[in-house]
């Protein structure tokens, strides 16, 4: 009986040893990083397949030892399967982590926004390494929003690959530079901050001149109530009423003012409007 037990133990030991020996045929790394070289331990000869989330790498090996994978070959982060086909068939799962931040996807919204509005601008940044792997580790992201050099910076640490902020628009109109950056990687977007409607108290016109048949009226510089010039191209409607009827000109603001030529009249009333905002009234001619 003792002999039988002894023989059984010997067999079990050999089996375990054989298994250990086989296990040594495929050694996968524990801390692989995308973009960095990798070494896979093998023995004997055969073919090594590395099946990753976005690629498959195939390597032939003959004398055992380790199979080297170059950094630029290992591009995908995530769950990989290493399979050896040859003297023996083995497979194992290993993980590859993303590399350093190398690319940002920055979604800045909206592209145009009225001035001085709270929480109207949003910036969302997804952080990737140079091989487009989402970096899930917390990473500080700097958001900078500035118009004409003056602006604000805020640092937000990403959670599960994404960092976001919302921000008020500045009181000053203009093309705001909205920049997201991580280390030396940055992406810029433009958020156009535009003036609001004309301010009624400063929306005034005057007679700027006469020609043989026309009277020329022109507005003072048209600004919103924060002092920003109302964007060029905004329609200002001039309406002249006299005994011959009504004459209208839909003029466009150019360089802060709008100007119109209306028929000369010996007794006319001229009004103007931009959207729902009314300007002053002029009387021209007799009376």
């Amino acid at each position: 009986m003792r002999k039988v037990i002894y023989t059984g133990l010997i067999i079990a030991l050999c089996w375990f040893a054989e298994d250990c020996a086989r296990a040594a045929e495929l050694r996968v790394p524990q801390n692989a990083v995308a973009g960095q070289p990798l070494s896979i331990g093998t023995s004997g000869s055969g073919t090594l397949y590395l099946v990753g989330p976005g690629q498959v790498i195939k390597k032939e090996f003959k004398s055992g030892g380790s199979v080297d994978i170059k950094g630029e070959e290992l591009r995908s982060a995530g769950r990989w399967i290493a399979v050896v086909r040859g003297d023996s068939n083995r497979s194992q799962v290993f993980w590859v982590k993303p590399g350093k931040p190398g690319k940002l996807n920055f979604l800045a919204r909206p592209s145009r926004v009225p001035v001085a509005r709270p929480n109207v601008i949003s910036g969302v940044t997804f952080i990737f390494d140079q091989y487009q792997n989402l970096i899930l580790d917390p990473t500080p992201v700097n958001f900078n929003l500035s118009v004409g050099g003056a602006g604000t910076t805020k640092t937000v640490t990403s959670r599960e690959g994404v960092a976001w902020i919302d921000s008020a628009s500045a009181p000053k109109a203009g093309a705001a530079q909205f920049v997201a950056s991580v280390d030396d990687t940055s992406v810029a977007r433009v958020v156009q901050q535009v003036a609001a409607d004309p301010c009624e108290r400063s929306f005034r016109m005057h007679v700027a001149g006469h020609t043989a048949q026309n009277i020329i009226v022109e507005t003072d510089p048209i600004r919103d109530c924060s002092g920003n010039p109302v964007p060029d191209g905004t329609i200002v409607t001039f309406i002249q009423t006299d005994k011959t009827g009504k004459s209208t000109v839909d003029a466009r603001i150019k360089k802060d003012t709008a100007r119109a030529e209306l028929p000369a009249s010996d007794n006319a009333t001229i009004t103007m409007a931009a959207g729902v905002v009314l300007g002053n009234e002029l009387h021209v001619g007799g009376r």
Partner: protein
Amino acid sequence: MGRLLAIIFGALTVGLIAVGTVHGSKTTHASTPDGAVQAMFDNVKGHDWHGAYAFVAPSSNVDEGGFTRDLAGRNGSLRTYSQLDSVNTRVLHESENEATVRTEIKYATAVGASFETRDLKVVKDDGTWKVVWPAEKEVNVPPQVIPVNYLRWDIIWRGAGDDWGAQNVENPNCRILSMHAVERDGALIIMGEVVNEDTVPAFISVGAVLTDSSGKDIAEESSFDKLSHVLLPKEVSPYRIDFPGIKKADVKSVRMTHNWMLVPASADPVIAVLHQRIEKDLTGRTVLKGELLNESGQIVNIPHVLATFYDNGGQVIWVSDAYSDHALLPQTPQPFSVALRDDLAANVHTYRVTVNHYSLNSREN
């Protein structure tokens, strides 16, 4: 035999030439005043300007070139893209040597039929009736420099290679300000106004879907030329959508559809609308008349006038439009006329006229 054939062919040739000659020189004799007008326009229809001019009275004081340009159009105007379709005449007054003929002329154009009514004077000249053609005064704009500070909006779109994070410029914010449905002449008409609330130009389209009481869509239409499709910042346009043959009682609800797109645009030319007034035209119909004045330095080939009529509550009660078949020369007033329904004329409290423009040398059109 050969000689006989030669004689036959020779005779045939002479005969054909004679026929051709007779055909080419149509008679210029008109025995009635309206016959003269009809004959003149028959030639116009066949683009035989010389033949048409033969019916013009010498007292008209118009040369053949000017007469031809009056009828064929000039400066790339809508008339240059038109074809005379039909002419109806009616003698209003006739004496021994003079008559007045009301002439209703219909042109077929790319934007639909265009109508013109003229009271033409016809005189007897050497025993035949001839038309006195009032020459259109060809305006020569004096040489001058008109300074224009061009304002354009150009757009840099997202490139093809940019990925998801790359921001694109957003479409403009526009809003339908009002919507009003009425039934007129057996058609359901939906009208109202739309505004571009943004600071960039918009290309807009407005449509409507009608739904019956069972919730089924029964008709879908959009506003084509009763709308300014390009709206500059803060610009308001009327819209009108016609559903012929649909009764208001058959419609449970109206679903408005729209599309606002950002487009490159120019703020010029500025067209003033002068001396607007509501009047009766020659035929007694109510029209809104006035003059268009192109304040820029470039020719506007095809002006399109849109009129919005409001009642005393400020509600849009009618929208109508008209294309002018004359180009707008710089700084030169050009009359226009837009029809207004006679049954609505009494309810019109105020109105607003806007002008679309199509220019051959403009990048936007």
